[in-house]
């Protein structure tokens, strides 16, 4: 029955892509969308942003492979991961405003469920440093309940799953040195200049 092969639709690729793009909305209506992701433009290139029902759970710089980021989310949060730009409109809008210099505070809920214990506390402390200000590893460690843990605080900040929005870039060495940064020190410098802190 070779003639049956002619029943193959020729545009299955395009048609299925269009159908797949509609799935996120249906999934959300059915309460089955656990992790929604999208890309957000930035001066560094396209960022990957992902949200749960609780809030923004991940922001990845362009150098992080998308597959790896999604696999990590699938394993640590839920495998129900779908691209759903609509769910991230607000995130993308606020990031855009921030990079244009018109926004000094993110009004976004964040979900720190990718982090644990001390790391979570360090990131919460970093989240309270206001726009245009900086703090030190030692200070942040102290606020997280471990005054002598500045090295550990540095590691915790380096594993920040939501950079920019949780402003780990505002944490510097006690002597004023820039310190490290997940996305590379150049980006840290860029963000601090954007905020007028350098």
């Amino acid at each position: 029955m070779n003639e049956l092969k002619r029943l193959r639709v020729r545009d299955a690729d395009r048609a299925s892509a269009a159908a797949a793009a509609l799935l996120a909305e249906e999934a959300e209506r059915a309460g089955l969308l656990d992790v929604a992701f999208a890309t957000a433009p930035s001066p560094f290139g396209d960022l990957l942003v992902a949200t749960t029902r609780r809030g923004l759970v991940r922001l990845a710089y362009p150098n992080e492979p998308v597959d790896e980021v999604l696999t990590e989310l699938s394993g640590s949060v839920s495998p129900r991961v779908l691209e759903a730009p609509g769910r991230l409109d607000e995130v993308r809008r606020e990031l855009e405003e921030y990079f244009e210099g018109g926004r000094q505070r993110f009004d976004l809920r964040v979900d720190l469920s990718l982090t644990r214990g001390f790391t979570t506390r360090v990131l919460r402390a970093a989240a309270r440093i206001p726009f245009g200000k900086v703090s030190t590893y030692r200070e942040v460690a102290g606020r997280a309940g471990s005054p002598r843990g500045s090295r550990a605080a540095g590691n915790a900040l380096g594993s920040n799953p939501i950079p920019i929005v949780v402003p780990c870039h505002r944490v510097l060495h006690t002597g004023g040195g820039l310190g490290g940064y997940t996305g590379g020190v150049e980006r840290k410098r860029f963000l601090l200049s954007l905020e007028g802190a350098m």
Binding site: A15, A20, L23, G75, S78, V81
Partner: protein, 156 residues
Amino acid sequence: MSLPPFSAFLEEHRVVVYRFLAATVGRDHADDCFQETFLSALRAYPKLRPGANLRAWVLTIATRKAIDHGRRRGRAAVPMAEVPERAVAEAPDGEPELWRAVQELPPMQRAAVVHRYVLDLPYADVALALGCSEEAARASAHEARKKLRATLREER
């Protein structure tokens, strides 16, 4: 090894699922059945064991949706006094006769023949998708082939 994110699973299997549905339920209903298939898959997805045969699994769901669709349509068609000649314009790419003939097969036979001859699946996979033995899958495809030949002969 853990499950791939659903987005990757969807990307990998969307074309084969769409091909299957377009050939079994017709182009006009393929989109709806596609949504139903992947929504069901999404619901059950977190409970799958890592390493499961995902392609066979999603084709099983698609087969069930196609068969349900066929039955719903079969039932709905009965009470209507005037059934408009079903628009066979939904034939994927021409071949309206062949298309109509496939559409008139009972749902299980239709699914069997599409899996085997449109998607080129081996009988072991056809059986998986249909949830029956390999022997029963062969029998369904055989029956379907016989009917298709007869129908196509009549029309020519």
